[in-house]
Symmetry: C5
Subunit: 307 residues, 5 copies
């Protein structure tokens, strides 16, 4: 498939990467219903590890089966499907080449209590290559006392991934003793996390929809001095996208907790209006019956296509 002008423009921002990394980035941009638009909707299913199986899959028990999710991503025309090692190993052989796979290289469970959270590295770049993946995924927790461990493990993985022709999708979730609970989704903190991600060399950055709260006193002064609007979600999204190399890095947003369809589509409209490159939508997709999920994902894609 030839490159659209928009995809060419996006790819011009990644000029220092090797043709191998660039090819895999194009594969994600040119796959599924949004192919060629420069927008992305990704299905991520790491909740079995992160929240446990019953909370994740009981609402739609078909989801206990790893095959269900990759098929959902294909049927819905997503750009890519992201999951931990076990889920991808289960499907990689039979689904080889049917949809870009992102191997999430670190994961965290909720069984241990820790003040300074840190995901465990549970997969390797060699696994991603072996399984025919298109990218690696990784999560950082800015604000955690363990952040340096996560940044430094990432540094090594991102270097190996680039050597193997794989771009990096980075989940940036601020949390830890350095932040208030409300501060985890504060607009300044979210934008800061996006900036850190871009500086660490991520190709695609995933953040949460920022809330109308400013956490850091020094940042608050600047927001006030320059009258930066944070009232609407689209305002806040715009600030985060700007904070990601002036919109020249692919920034996508998570859907967060399960919610009803109208509320979710409203939120997506705000994301799109603010300049988001897309969504990464897990629980809101796979916890619905399949037909509903496909319909929802199509509706989301339509919003981004028209943005």
């Amino acid at each position: 498939m030839a490159l659209s002008d928009r995809v060419k423009q996006i790819m011009s921002w990644y000029g220092s990467d090797t043709p191998g990394v660039r090819a895999n980035l194009v594969r994600m941009l040119n796959h599924g219903n949004l192919a060629g638009t420069g927008k992305m909707v990704i299905l991520p299913v790491d909740q079995g590890f992160e929240h446990g199986p019953v909370r994740s899959f009981q609402p739609n028990p078909e989801g206990y089966d790893p095959e269900y999710h990759v098929q959902l991503a294909i049927d819905a025309g997503c750009n890519a499907y992201a999951a931990p090692l076990g889920f991808l190993e289960f499907v990689a052989d039979r689904y080889a080449g049917q949809i870009p796979l992102i191997l999430k290289l670190n994961n965290s469970d909720t069984l241990a209590k820790v003040d300074q959270p840190c995901s465990a590295v549970t997969g390797s770049v060699r696994d991603a290559v072996r399984l025919g993946c298109t990218a690696i995924g990784y999560t950082i927790y800015p604000g955690s006392g363990q952040r340096n461990t996560m940044y430094q493990d990432l540094r090594q993985l991102i270097l190996e991934a680039k050597d193997s022709g794989l771009p990096t999708v980075l989940w940036a979730y601020p949390r830890g003793a350095g932040l208030s609970k409300e501060g985890e989704q504060a607009v300044d903190v979210t934008a800061y996390a996006a900036q850190i991600s871009a500086q660490l060399g991520a190709h695609v950055i995933k953040i949460k929809p920022p809330k109308d709260h400013i956490e850091q006193a020094e940042a608050k002064k600047v927001f006030e001095k320059y009258n930066i609007s944070t009232k609407t979600l689209s305002d806040r999204v715009r600030h985060c996208v700007q904070s990601s190399f002036n919109g020249k890095r692919i920034v996508i947003f998570s859907g967060g907790e399960a919610k009803d369809t109208p509320a979710l589509l409203d939120e997506v409209r705000e994301l799109a209006k603010g300049g988001a490159f897309g969504s990464i939508m897990g629980r809101n997709a796979f916890q619905r019956p399949k037909a509903e999920a496909v319909k929802l994902l199509h509706d989301v894609m339509d919003i981004f296509r028209k943005a």
Copy 2:
């Protein structure tokens, strides 16, 4: 030996693995009295390290001798025999090729008091290859503050094992400061541990028979909302098997503390009814006189064969 339909079905779930890893998985499924049934009964003898020699072997002092156990596993027609480095080194030369051996790569003793338990890595994949083993074994303690160390050491070992054509049998024993004592065998926690094991890339998962307790408040809501029955052991086993990729990973159960034969066989019947792929039975086997132990293991195998 040709593959039975059930073994073919099971092997279809491990399609991303190399022929080398698959061959060793087949070797375990096609060995002993349960060969070809897709069920497994494994004899594990790591209690000398984990609980000390006198508690483990005095009830049947023949067990002080490493040769006793491998011979018991052969005589009883087990699918495999699992032990730490020393025990396997003692027998590997003379018993080469007679029964699949699983080298347990980490172990923990009870002489030190620690809040956040972590087994020491006491063997290597190269040892497993050198000793002609069919698989590696490894223990994780979800719930421990040291869980990331265990998950990450496993990540490296599982990668090396796959490179050497060896599948991984994972003991998942939740414990540590994140859990109440009762919570260590709670049904939600056990199912969660099975899910984590599957996501980490384990080929065979070993968990404890779950008890009728739910540890995590968030999980409790879901069990209640969806009326998931946890009353009988078979109900709880069914949930754990479902939580292991919808029953598409081999999940076996430990026998736990020594108990009398009728109680033990009742438990095994519940395991089998709930969809367990088999049992891993140590103390209940080797602490009985040999003839009794063989009889017991045969009875257990019969229950699984007929399930």
Copy 3:
């Protein structure tokens, strides 16, 4: 470009380095408006990572775009442009060969609260080579309980950098539980940090303009006994330059917080009078409108050229 006598003299201090490292040092000394003078003005832009995007770039929003900064450095005739991985990757392909690039290999954000600060290693020497950089940059925090980690990571990076023909620019910022807040810029501490940097093998040392305060009691006695003047900034700069192998290492000074132009130029005059080899000027440059910034940088260069 032939070497001026001054550059020859400076290069005579680095005689144990390989021709590769020496060539890159010459490249920086012979680039831009100050080429051949032995003086250096460098534009560093790591504030997006260190202080967050809004505080760094909102005052002049063109700075959200990574391309803005490298172009500013070129337009102003700086000797080099320094930034973290993400910013350099964004421009390295299109600006290859146009200005010496310094890859800052470690960075710290303000989202986590820690007593003993330590920057995370966020890039590698291989990245610097891949991106065509002329030097690596690194930050140490003498005074931190984590200093050994930083010194030892640096030891490894500096060794790799020398093997790859890259000199090292070292940011020496005393901070941490070992120092009072005032002590972080004390003249004795700043001079000590410069000495440590030189002993660690740095080629270019960057320190903050020292203040008229002496932190360590043992040092205070010596300043008093030998009547070492610390009254003017030029006095204090002179002591720091002397403390850097008697002025035989390149020592440059940061501009610190944004301030008005006359105050800033006064400070630079004092730096130059004290023997500084130049300035590294970030926020004071890129937070002004571009024309003003270029004018300011030119004025700064003029002061150093005439010193």
Copy 4:
């Protein structure tokens, strides 16, 4: 020298080892006065490091000289001489081939106060090979919170040693916060430490003579239920030897603190009666005048030979 039946029997327990490792084990069993008996008396001199020079060597000042000890071991006809790197380097060239040397790879001094003891690794397998050693030695402290570090370092060293054809002699000294002072030599703890050593892959296990105390409540129940006698030292030794793979690992005992000759020989008689494979005797040997020491070691050897 041809193998005696007893040595053949012992060697049959180490059948999974390479010919190289087996050859070195035979070298120790076939050296000195006890050659061919399957018994071993080893001279270990690490007390200079472990307790300091004055306490170790002043009682017989000839012992300050490293050459004294290796000559004592040769003159007394010991099976092997064990010492840290420095002591072995001092003599390895001149004494090459005259007596099997065991390089003790970790050591601990008494100058620092720590709750969770851990010996430092002070030598490497490559040193052992370079110095022509016959085996490596290593100390573990079961009961210490640092035990995993020691077990894991050992795992690596034992693997390297096997690759280099070197067997491992393991000093198993329970201590640390997990144990009471009395518990360090309790019979259950000593037997447990021997079992751990055997499981870790040690070829020769060195433990202390166990005392008539049971530390662990769970173990106490078993000793009582099965009426295991712990009254005489020979009873307790028998239990420890049984706990070492039913007597199929070479288990030797330390002499402990210096004491008078009759008491010491009484103790050795009890060790021999209980099935000990020999003694490792340091201070009781080298702190006596040489002639006395040789006489004592000969008497000890006689006891073991006749056992």
Copy 5:
């Protein structure tokens, strides 16, 4: 230069070392005014790093310049010159082959407050080779809770150094939470530190002149029982030399704090009388005017030559 009988005797103690390591040891013993005597006076200049530049160099400001020190060492006829990476890199090219250089591989500054001191590794064996050094230098702090880290890093460096033909000079400075302030220079502790150094494989051991204090209760009993005199410095030096393999390791003493010339020469006379192999003299040398320093060093050498 042919070997004197004394140098031959000394070299006979290092017979297990490779010809390469032995050659470099000879180079130090056969260099300068004391060549061939078996005695050594070394100039060490790491105080810029350890105490800061102003305290170290202001008393004789020529010392700010790295070139000053190596020239002083040459002019005074020292056996060797020891310094950290930066100082050696500054002079290695121009002074190649003129005097043996010792690269001090770890260093500590006084800017951070720590209870358990540990020097940072600031150079590598590859640096030592690259700079044409004759030996590596390293500091251990017995008594510190971090001692194992230092011993283990040393183990690796000493192994690499031996592979590169470089002997090791070990600074043994007891300190840390395990010792009282007075205990840091206690005679038992100093002798113990020398023994540890020798056991770790050091070729040359540097300790402080021991004071008339005994720190460890167990050691005190032995000193008293055997009437070991500790009254004069020469008595205490003799004990330390004896504790270093009965005088068969090269043991040299530091000069400590700056003091007046007669006091210093008196101390040196005691060192020589006690059997010291020489002195390592920093501040007492380079803080004096050059002519005085050369005179002093010559006087010190004379004392050792005549001893």
